[in-house]
């Protein structure tokens, strides 16, 4: 399979050079966490990484370019290191699309991007932060405590070597996978299946992520300190676990669906709400 893929990469139909890929990768590494916001997370960093490549790829088609730019400044978040796989895939898909392969619809690109970002965040965070960044610390910090300056730097160096090496490897891998996947999937007519699978995985993961990362609990207690104390959060937990975070996500979802993408407004409202609820001791 990987042989076929490499051949495909060599085809005449290439716009993206290895240097383009390298630059996109470097910009991703440079920017990834810098423009992170509550609403779209790493969206701008993703766009920053692809900015030049997209302009090259779609240079004859400003309309398509604009659409692609929109796609790649939309909400995105993943592990910075493992996520490079997505960049590689997306760049090759956009390239194929620019070359006229109309089977590669925006929907495919979007659903793959979102379907992959969750799982790669999950595995990447565990491995990078849970293992690569942690175990060397456990080994070398005690030596640093004994005064070794070198030991103070070793965990950092291990982490750097791993992250840069692996993310660049994945970027290339993703690019060639994208080529292969495109050819293979198109031939087998399984595109819809792939979109479906990616969408389902993506949505399920957004569910897991929401449950895990949205923190919203009430602190309200009625008749506090007595034997007949009633803790509101306990009642809510008895109804539906994490009902408040769920309501929050769904509420925002419905708000956006109905009132359009007024993110700043939502952020401000949420902050005011949080301050008010905190002031009154409700959360």
């Amino acid at each position: 399979m990987s042989q076929i893929g490499e051949k495909a990469v060599e085809q005449k139909s290439n716009i993206v050079t290895r240097i383009d890929l390298l630059k996109a990768w470097w910009k991703w590494c440079l920017a990834v966490e810098v423009p992170v916001s509550f609403d779209r997370m790493q969206a701008l960093a993703f766009g920053y990484s692809l900015n030049k490549v997209l302009r090259k790829v779609y240079k004859d088609n400003p309309e398509e370019l604009k659409e692609a730019m929109k796609r790649h400044t939309s909400m995105f978040n993943t592990n910075c290191d493992w996520g490079s796989l997505i960049h590689g895939i997306i760049i090759s898909l956009e390239e194929q699309r620019a070359l006229g392969n109309e089977n590669i619809t925006p929907e495919i690109i979007q659903s793959l991007k979102i379907g992959l970002m969750g799982p790669l965040a999950g595995i990447g965070d565990s491995v990078d932060q849970g293992i690569v960044a942690t175990i060397p610390l456990a080994i070398f910090v005690p030596m640093a405590l004994n005064g070794s300056v070198i030991a103070a730097f070793v965990p950092a160096l291990i982490y750097l070597a791993w992250s840069y090496g692996y993310s660049w490897f994945l970027m290339k891998k993703g690019y060639s996978l994208g080529k292969n996947a495109v050819l293979e999937i198109l031939h087998s007519g399984k595109i819809k299946k792939v979109i479906d699978i990616a969408s389902i995985v993506g949505l399920f993961m957004i569910g897991c992520l929401s449950s895990s990362f949205v923190a919203f609990k009430t602190a309200a207690v009625f008749n506090a300190g007595t034997s007949s104390e009633v803790v509101l959060q306990d009642i809510l937990d008895g109804m539906l676990p994490k009902i408040l975070p769920f309501a929050l996500v769904m509420g925002m979802y419905l708000y956006i669906t109905k009132k359009g993408p007024k993110y700043l407004r939502i952020i401000v409202y949420t902050m005011l709400l949080a301050l008010a609820l905190t002031f009154f001791g409700i959360i």
Partner: protein, 248 residues
């Protein structure tokens, strides 16, 4: 002292400003910052010891979804200078570090709030096809803007000593600090809600809900969630031939 304060402020900006993420991630470790702050104050060894001691508190802890459990960089950049200047006991440096580790979480929330502005700007540049401006607003500007956020508190704290900063913090009502922290807990909802919108497949929302409550009930890791999700998706896709006429 001003120069030292500037240097420590810059160290913190390098550490948490996040340009070049992998580097900043490695650099922000107290054990590393300790060496550099030590250098600034002319005593690498002492800085190292303080840094390594503070590091012990932050061994694990995963930053996921843009949330940081605590800001080890701020903890280090405030506590180590204070400890060096006052020749504190390492344990005492830890005591100073802890509250600033928490405060840093608020700065990160503030940063993510401010950054929303750049997103809005970006949209209009895309609309107008000004892709160079888009680039500028995607990295350099947010980086500089946020630099203010990171530089300032550490600069001030080093200049006036952390006690002044602590006094200032005490002026801010506690409910306000807590309120900001709570907002930080709630705001990630926006990113997820937005993804739901972006996905645009209303008939698949049940998978989101299932993922949410399976996780809420059983509390597994993200990777476990991904494996389960993939299995479900593969099984479901087996039966998904005729797409038309779906419930939408």
């Amino acid at each position: 002292m001003v120069i030292k304060a500037v240097l420590v402020g810059l160290l913190y900006w390098i550490a948490m400003g996040r340009a070049n993420y992998f580097f900043s991630f490695a650099f922000r470790k107290p054990v590393v910052l300790g060496v550099f702050i030590g250098l600034v104050f002319g005593d690498v060894k002492t800085g190292l010891i303080y840094g390594a001691t503070i590091q012990l508190m932050y061994m694990g802890g995963i930053e996921a979804g843009g949330n940081i459990p605590s800001d080890q960089g701020l903890a280090a950049c405030i506590a180590i200078p204070a400890a060096i200047i006052n020749s504190l006991d390492p344990a005492a440096s830890v005591a100073i570090a802890v509250p600033f580790g928490v405060l840093g979480v608020l700065i990160n929330n503030l940063r993510r709030t401010i950054n929303s502005f750049y997103n809005t700007k970006a949209d209009s540049f895309v609309e107008k096809g000004e892709y160079d401006k888009l680039s500028t607003f995607s990295f350099i500007l947010p980086w500089l803007t946020n630099g203010v956020l990171y530089f300032t508190p550490v600069f001030i704290a080093t200049l006036f000593g952390p006690s002044v900063v602590q006094a200032f913090i005490k002026v801010i009502p506690e409910w306000f600090m807590n309120g900001l922290a709570n907002a930080g807990g709630m705001l990630p909802a926006l990113g997820f809600a937005l993804t739901l919108v972006v996905m645009g497949r209303k008939q698949y929302i049940p998978f989101f809900v299932l993922g949410f409550f399976f996780h809420a009930i059983a509390g597994f890791s993200m990777l476990t969630g991904a494996v389960i999700a993939l299995c479900i998706a593969l099984i479901v896709s087996m039966f998904k031939q005729n797409e038309e006429g779906e419930l939408t």
